[in-house]
Amino acid sequence: MEATEHRTPNYVAIWGMLAVLTVVEVAVVYLRLPRRLMVVSLVFLALWKALLVALYFMHLRFEPKRLLYIVLAPLPLAVILVFAVMHGFRGP
């Protein structure tokens, strides 16, 4: 059926990448980089890892587009919620 048709990705390679990214993350923390740079790179690394899991392990890359719409639906709402609430508190 549809899920088996796609070329099987090299799971071991992705596993290696995830492992390396985790090591890099921990290294970033202990490198004592400037705080802003550290936060940006950590967020970037986390998103990269999350995308690898979602695209290959959950094989979203190989799913029909319409399923993607369902999956992506909550993300804008999550962002709206967090940003609106953070801006909702008055300044001192």
Partner: protein
């Protein structure tokens, strides 16, 4: 969820009128995961809001938590995700021995993760870091606790799937149950990747 996986014969419930083009259990699981995203949004969002939106006092996570242990635990969870996807690949090839082996490894990985987390909690509580220890304590235990709860549920379902695999329920290319539980498993892994970064590292 898994109980139904094998019930309808393949191709029976192919959507007649342009559904999303995948089988029903998978649609159901993804819809469920969408709601899980919102659940973790409430928890992770609260953490972000409390820490960065209100100017509250916040300790450096690294001064409280043991990063190396948790990094190792992260790695274990990632490994169990890989073994899960290998189990799925084995199921699609009808490689029954591989399926059983990889499922067992996945259960082992998940159980190890939960055990390490229990050890971590024990250690932190002994040190006097409790859910009542300020906002960080509150958020830390609620977020990692609920993630741990999800992993535990995953391990229990995974044991169930493994038992079914040993009974040959996924023979003949019937991979749906394995794929569906796998989606949940990878999702839990994905949430941990985000949690680890936000709670432990930043």
């Amino acid at each position: 969820m898994t109980a139904h996986a094998a019930a309808p014969p393949l191709g029976h419930d192919a959507p007649p009128q342009g559904g999303v083009g995948v089988y029903t259990q998978k649609v159901g699981m993804w819809v469920f995961l969408v709601s899980e995203v919102m659940f973790f949004t409430a928890l992770i969002g609260s953490y972000i809001i409390l820490r960065w939106g209100t100017g509250a006092q916040w300790p450096e996570p690294r001064s409280v938590l043991a990063i190396p242990v948790t990094a190792l635990n992260t790695f274990i969870l990632i490994c169990s995700s890989v073994s899960m996807v290998k189990a799925y690949a084995a199921a699609t090839r009808d490689d029954q021995a591989g399926l059983k082996r990889w499922l067992l490894l996945t259960v082992l990985g998940g159980a190890t993760f939960v055990s390490v987390q229990a050890y971590e909690y024990h250690h932190l509580i002994e040190k006097g870091f409790l859910p009542s220890s300020g906002l960080f304590g509150s958020a830390f235990y609620t977020m990692t606790g609920f993630h741990g709860f999800h992993v535990t549920c995953g391990v229990i379902s995974m044991i169930w799937v493994t038992i079914r695999a040993f009974r040959g329920k996924y023979a003949g290319g019937n991979y749906r149950g394995v794929e569906t539980i796998g989606l949940y498993w990878h999702f839990v892994d994905l949430v941990w990747i985000i949690l680890f970064t936000i709670v432990y590292l930043i």
